[in-house]
């Protein structure tokens, strides 16, 4: 008699769950940035190669492990070897960190979505200053979209040391975001399958990293999803489908993002030109409408030669407008999603409609990925008899959501965005590489590739192609080791870590060093997940030694 494990209603639901998990915000705001930084279309070459060599094999591996072991990440790795259940624990820890900060993005998306039902859009105009003679000073220095993001949404403090107070508006949105996630996971993972990160070596490293994180490997979510599959499910086909759809979504998102970049760059360039034209027209009392973009340089030359005194007074105020400079500003992350895109949207016709659609899309992406993350945490918890005996599924989900929400309130402080950046940059990067490396080595060398192959064949009825075997046993581990070495050396060489802080007086970002306690938190984040692997192995070893020593083993 087995405990009946809930199953997906049909394979399509499983595929949609995986796609919704893998296709996330990274496709929208990380991939286009990488394309722009590493040569545009040519970045696709390392990206596609890494997809075939690293992404697909590792994705298939995780799905196969989940489907074969039919348990969440902790149980699955414990089945392979008790010493390796630390890998599962590390996965859960990393998923926990991720779910803590990832839902804050959904909270921001909700905030912007709710503010899209206004005319004019609140980020399209600067607010007036105290005596209503002009616009707010900070907003004048920066732009209205940056002001809305840094002042109205985040109310950001000048540095990470000034924690400030809790902002109730983002806190409310965070609460709502967690309630929505809880609603979706309430009935268990089976109800979540509905419709939801390149000749320059740096380009290749970034392509490898992007594929890796974009597919969401190592969090345990894919193992969790696959554990609810029928054993005979053809996960090889699904692995290929999910990775291809994930990559094509990234490429599609880049096409859209580049057209947005172009629109914004053209618009800003033309506004810059108009400002210069107005300045010159007013200073020299030229006829209104006489100066245009085409004769600007010629007229400037004439004015400089004819009225040198007056021109030299005006000259410092004249900005050099350049379309190339506008296009060169590559932005990634929250800056792209909440500043660049909103700036483009505010200049479109019917901007409220586009704004609502855009933030709704962000929400769908974000919540889809969140469901995968929470599945990674909940599946091992509900699998473990110790916990699920005492608490029903709804209570476990509720408790996890509550704890994450409470911790997530840290990110709604005035300095919250700086802590968010810490989590975003360090919580999942190194640890995941290590986790997936150990996973691959464990399946191939500890469990045995031959044995896994025969298991899969018995389960699905298909023989394992030589391609997968070579990738799992050789190429992918080597790739991950080289990625790990590169990042470790990069961290060691760069020395003190720095971050970008918002300076309200200048209206732009400035670079600052992290204080000691922030560095300690970073170290703790990386250590707490990676140390799980050796610690649990050690613990199991010690426990087994103790039991062997006892004459009567404890049942």
């Amino acid at each position: 008699m087995e405990k009946a494990r809930p199953l997906w209603a049909n394979p399509l639901q499983f595929v949609f769950a995986c796609i919704s998990y893998a296709v996330g915000l990274g496709n929208v705001w990380r991939f286009p940035y990488l394309c722009q930084m590493y040569g545009g279309g040519s970045f696709l070459v390392p990206y596609l190669i890494m997809l075939i060599v690293e992404g697909m094999p590792l994705l298939y591996l995780e799905l196969a492990v989940g489907q074969r072991m039919r348990q969440g990440s902790i149980g699955a790795w414990r089945t392979i070897s008790p010493y390796l259940s630390g890998v599962g624990v590390a996965s859960v820890v990393v998923s926990f960190f991720l779910s803590m900060y990832y839902n804050v993005i959904n909270a921001w998306a909700f905030w912007y979505l709710f503010h899209s039902f206004q005319d004019p859009l609140p980020w399209s105009v600067c607010p007036l200053n105290a005596n209503r003679t002009g616009f707010d000073a900070e907003c004048e220095q920066a732009s209205s979209t940056k002001y809305f993001w840094y002042r109205k949404t985040l109310n950001i403090s000048p540095s990470i040391q000034d924690s400030g107070s809790l902002q109730w508006e983002p806190a409310l949105c965070l609460l709502l975001a967690w309630l929505v996630v809880y609603l979706c996971i309430l009935r268990g993972t089976e109800s979540t399958g509905k419709l939801e990160q390149l000749a320059n070596p740096k380009a290749w490293i970034n392509a490898a990293t992007q594929i890796f994180f974009s597919l969401g490997l190592g969090f345990g979510s894919l193992i969790a999803f696959a554990s609810y599959n029928e054993p005979s499910n053809n996960c090889q086909k699904h692995a290929i489908i999910v990775s291809l759809i994930n990559s094509s979504t990234s490429i599609f998102a880049s096409v859209v993002t580049f057209s947005i970049y172009g629109f914004k760059a053209t618009f800003n360039y033309e506004s810059c030109l108009n400002k210069v034209i107005l300045l010159l027209t007013n200073s020299f009392d030229l006829e209104d409408g006489f100066l245009t973009a085409s004769n600007l340089e010629q007229v400037k030359g004439y004015l400089a030669s004819t009225y040198p005194g007056q021109y030299s007074k005006v000259f410092p105020l004249i900005k050099n407008c350049s379309l190339e400079a506008e296009l060169d500003t590559a932005v990634q992350g929250t800056g792209l999603a909440f500043i660049v895109y909103t700036e483009a949207i505010k200049n479109m016709e019917v901007s409220q409609l586009w704004s609502v659609l855009y933030f709704f899309m962000l929400l769908m992406l974000g919540i889809g990925s969140m469901l995968g993350n929470t599945a990674a945490i909940l599946t091992p918890l509900t699998d473990s008899k110790a916990i699920s005996r005492h608490l029903p599924k709804e209570a476990i989900s509720g408790l996890v959501c509550l704890i994450n929400c409470a911790v997530g309130l840290v990110f709604t402080l005035e300095a919250g965005n700086y802590w968010f950046d810490i989590f975003n940059d360090y919580a999942a990067t190194l640890s995941l590489l290590l986790i997936v490396l150990v996973e691959t080595v464990a399946v191939c060398y500890v469990y045995g590739l031959r044995r896994f192959e025969s298991d899969l064949q018995a389960m699905t009825g298909r023989t394992l192609s030589w391609y997968w075997k070579i990738m799992w046993a050789g190429v992918s581990p080597l790739l991950i080791i080289s990625l790990l070495l590169f990042y470790l050396s990069d961290y060691i060489l760069t020395g003190t870590l720095q971050y970008q802080a918002w300076d309200a007086s200048q209206g732009q970002l400035v670079t600052k060093d992290y204080p000691a306690y922030a560095l300690a938190v970073i170290g703790l984040l990386v250590a707490s997940s990676t140390m799980c692997i050796p610690l649990v192995a050690l613990g199991t070893f010690v426990l087994r030694r103790l039991r062997r020593g006892d004459p009567a083993p404890v049942a």
């Binding site: 089945t79 709710f114 209503r132 929505v180 030229l286 006829e287 709804e394």
Partner: protein
Amino acid sequence: MSRVAKMSSCCYNETKRQQHHARRSKVKEASPLNWELGPDVYLQKCESDAENAFKVRLSIRTALGDKAYAWDTNEEYLFKAMMAFSMRKVPNRETTEISHVLLCNVTRRVSFWFVVTDPTKNYTLPADEIQSAIRMNRNRINNAFSLNDQTLEFLKIPSTFAPPTDPSVPIWIIVFGVVFCIVIVAITLLVLSGIRQRRRKNKGPSEVDDTEDKSENTITIENGIPCDPLDTKGWHINDTFMTEDERLTPL
């Protein structure tokens, strides 16, 4: 020589010509009573940066595009009329006439300076009065020329922006409230139905299944294939783990 150079020299000439015309017409119209003032003194009151003088700048083509009208003496007359009208609204200045408003230094931009003199035409009215008068009637003045605060500028008079129309309850809170209530209702319904389902299940099957479930540990379900000997039962020791060498199967 470029068009611009031609225009600026012509601009200068035209200003001079306008002033000359003005002087000549004034001289012609001057009654014996006004003769003693003399045309030069009359015009000295209005100069760039004179005391109590304001500079005005219009951007007609920016505002109206193709429908832009040309700035000529008739438009100037209308401007003088609007200034006189504004001053008449000020207490003690109800007798201001159009002829009391003086314009000068009209450029091609279009920009010019103006002053408002008192009925005796001896001195110009203080800047504060003119400023408050214009501020109060700014809308009427703008409408007379089909312009707005940005295209009809009085350079020393900053325009105040219209106060933002804030609704009593911010719109985003309303939308938030709606979504929040829907989510809470949905959660409550699901939780309640889950509790009801569990109660029904508890009444049904016997206790045997429960104990079996409890003693059972995570066992993999295979379709007709015997369980893998490496399955662990919780933390119990399984003999197969003693011989660890066997697990390392060669590739």
